[in-house]
Each structure stands twice: as structure tokens, then as C-alpha cells.
Symmetry: C2
Subunit: 253 residues, 2 copies
């Protein structure tokens, strides 16, 4: 059986956006699906594509499943561009770090008859370095019934822990989980060089947490801190409690 | 051979202060030494003493090695109380989280002829839960030659990583390593409850770092943030860089 025959027999998935996370998905989807990808940037000369075939945006949009792996800030533009090319019954999936804004954009911009699934894989290239089995993904079913089949695939085949939630509940938790981690990581990276020798286990864990996110694309930080409607409030609470700690230290000193 | 005979043959170490860290030391020293301890608080009814014998302060001070496991804030009082009871050649060791202040107190308050070793075990009851082999201890030799033998014991018998340093170099590094960890941990604990379900690996590592220090005695936080002359400056840098991050988010939003 030729490669092209094998490709014909497997489900076809389109990926729009082939950055760090698009490639991470391709690595784990390639054994199960034929992949068509579109990215406006040219392919990196030595970049791994995991057998994904580059093609034009319209061709990717005609796949039965289309994953939008673009920054949240570009999502509205991408949705409006692909909308005319999508077939009825297509499952459109986003993978953004927030869920309220992307789900609202997809609801508003995608045609009737397209099924929508919001997802947030709670991992990235660093945390998935040793594989994705056991890692978490939040899933917000929006419309259609294909989302359920997709969730079963994530759980059974990719061995992810699937957390079914709503966009608002997701964004409230993510504001704390990712809002705090990325804020703290950004500040600690700015303080470097930090000690590497005379360290405690607690400090090493803290720096491991930083290492998980320090190479994330700037768009990830933007989505987490800016597109999440609850993130500013979490940061304010962090700053306010930190100011209390400082005031206590100043007062009794 | 009776227990008391065995005790006679082993080196005798006195421990002043039998709190969480005093007991942790007893656990790892007991197989190698006979231990005499003094703590003004009565023994806890079900507290583990690891074979350490409780006695009065003067008796502990007459041991050939005396470890001061008391809060930095009590150290000056303890040093002045034990000074008259110490024998020439006694090795006095402290285990405080800072080194400049304790070493200055011991230099000023201990009699001539007593040998002094400042140490900072870079671990506590939580981080040592699975044993201490491979963990780190900073060591500042101050006077006498027994410190060297003690360092060899820590390295060879207890399998610790011994970092020989000066009180000032120690306090500069500890201001970042422990100052940041304990500040961040204190603020995150104040923000609880935090999500436990929809978490990332980075957030889990951050919370593991918090768990390492959340049960530390309040005196540990005090020593790290208040008795370290460089800690306030590190906190100010953290707050100032955090304010920059926040200002950037506010400006371009």
C-alpha cells in the first residue's frame, strides 16, 4: 500500500497555524490521522512536520475536522476567512488558553451547520516533552455531537485527562492556574540570573515551573493575562496580598 | 552491651531547641551519636525523640559539640545563657536560615577557645521527607578546626552536598532563593482555595514548591525575610518588576 493510499484511508484533519503548538498536535495526531496544515509563514528549513502536508487555507478548511491553532488575537480574522469554505457538518476546534472569547468568536463567525468544540490543552511543548499521556485537556462542547466523539478520542487514544467544562468556569480557573504561573514566571525570568547552586528543593520546583512556560510564544502570555476576563482580578489579588505581607514585615521590624 | 554502655562509646552531641528542625536533626544524627537535648517547652506526649535524652541547658552546653536549633531571634539570649557552661574546644554550630547575624552573635557572645561553625541546612521537614542524602547544606567555618571534621561528617556520613561559603555570600544567595520562595508561597497560601483539578504541570510544580514551606515555623519566615539584610531589596525588585508587567498589560490592552 502506497503512502497516498494509506493517507486516503485515515480520517483527515486540517490544522490552521503550524507554530509550536500546531507541531506538537501534529506529532501526536499523525499516527492516527492524515494531516493537512496551513500557516502563512514559510516552513522552517529543518522544522519537523510529522508527515503533515502543507496546503492552502481553503483546502484545509474543507477537511471534516479543522483545528484552529492560531493566537486568540488572530482568531476572529481566521474564522471569517475560512467560513465560506467550511462544509456542513465540519467540526471546528480551537485550542486557545482562554475559552469565553474564542467560543464567542466561533459562535458568531462560523456558519450554521458547522459543529464547534472549544478545547484548552493544559500543556505545551515543555510539559509534553516526555509524552502527553496523563496530561489534561479542558473541553467545552458548544454545538453538534461530534465533540463527544472527539473527547472520546482524546481520552481513549491520546490518554489525556479530559475535563468537560463551560467557557466561563474554564476561564475562572485558568485565571488562577495560568494567570499566576505566567505572572510569577515572567517576573522571575526578569530577575535572572538567579542562584543555581545554593538552592532549596522548593526553589528548584519554582524554577522548574518557570522552565515549563519560559519559552511559550508571547501570544500565550497575552491570551492568558489579557484575553481572560478574570486574569486582571487575580493579579490584583496577588499584588494586594503581597503588599500586605510587605507591610507586615515593615511594621513589626 | 547495654544501651548506656553503647551511649558512652559514641560521640555526644548537645542540641538546644527541639522544634521541627531539632527533631529532624535528631532523626539523622541518632544512628551515629548520643544526643542530649534541651528545650524549654515540655516534650509533646507522642512526640518522637529518636533516642535523644532530655536534660537541662547546662548539661547540654557541656557536650563537646553543641548545636543551636533555636530561632535566630532567640539566638543572642541562648548564646549568653550557655556561654559560662561551655568547655574550651567545644564546637558550637548554628543552623539558622541566615548566616551574617547568627555568626556575628556567636563571635560576640561565645567565649575564647570555643570553635564556631555556621551552617544552613537547605532543607526542612517537608523537603527531607524522603531522606536527606543528596540535599544541600551551606557551611561557614568561623573559628577552630573542628568545622572541617564536621563538614566531612556531613558529606561522607549524611551524604549531604556541602557548600562552603561566607556568611555574606550565603545571605546574598539565600535572599533570592528563600526570600522569593517564601514570599510567593505566603501570598499563594493567602489566595487559597486555588484550583486543584484543572491544573497545568507548571502550576502543580508551583504548588509543590508552596507545599515544601507552608508548614515551616513562623520563625523561619521571619529569619528569611527579616534577618537577611538583602531580603527586602530582593522583594522590592520582585514587586517593581511585577508592577512593570502589570503596566505593560494595562498600556497596550
Amino acid at each position: 500500500m502506497s503512502v497516498s493510499q494509506a493517507t486516503q484511508l485515515r480520517p483527515v484533519i486540517g490544522i490552521i497555524g503550524f507554530g509550536a503548538f500546531g507541531r506538537l498536535m501534529a506529532r501526536y495526531l499523525a499516527p492516527h490521522m492524515a494531516l493537512r496544515v496551513y500557516d502563512p509563514r514559510p516552513a522552517e528549513p529543518n522544522g519537523q512536520s510529522y508527515g503533515a502536508v502543507r496546503t492552502d487555507l481553503a483546502a484545509v478548511a474543507r477537511c471534516p475536522v479543522v483545528i484552529l491553532a492560531v493566537p486568540v488575537s488572530s482568531l476572529a480574522a481566521v474564522v471569517s476567512t475560512i467560513a465560506p469554505h467550511l462544509r456542513p457538518g465540519t467540526l471546528v476546534v480551537d485550542v486557545g488558553s482562554v475559552k469565553m472569547e474564542p467560543v464567542a468568536i466561533m459562535r458568531a463567525g462560523l456558519p450554521q451547520g458547522v459543529e464547534i468544540l472549544g478545547t484548552h490543552p493544559l500543556f505545551g511543548p515543555q510539559s509534553a516533552a516526555d509524552g502527553i499521556a496523563g496530561l489534561r485537556i479542558a473541553v467545552c462542547p458548544v454545538s453538534g455531537r461530534s465533540g463527544r466523539r472527539a473527547a472520546a478520542f482524546l481520552r481513549k487514544v491520546l490518554k489525556l485527562k479530559v475535563i468537560v467544562t463551560t467557557p466561563e468556569a474554564h476561564d475562572r480557573e485558568a485565571a488562577a492556574v495560568q494567570g499566576l504561573t505566567h505572572l510569577i514566571a515572567r517576573v522571575l525570568v526578569a530577575m535572572e540570573p538567579l542562584p543555581t547552586h545554593m538552592t532549596t528543593r522548593s526553589f528548584s520546583l519554582l524554577m522548574q515551573a518557570v522552565d515549563m512556560v519560559r519559552h511559550d510564544a508571547p501570544e500565550v502570555f497575552e491570551a492568558i493575562e489579557r484575553s481572560n476576563p478574570f486574569a486582571a482580578e487575580v493579579r490584583q489579588r496577588f499584588f494586594s496580598l503581597a503588599a500586605h505581607v510587605e507591610a507586615d514585615l515593615a511594621r513589626d521590624g
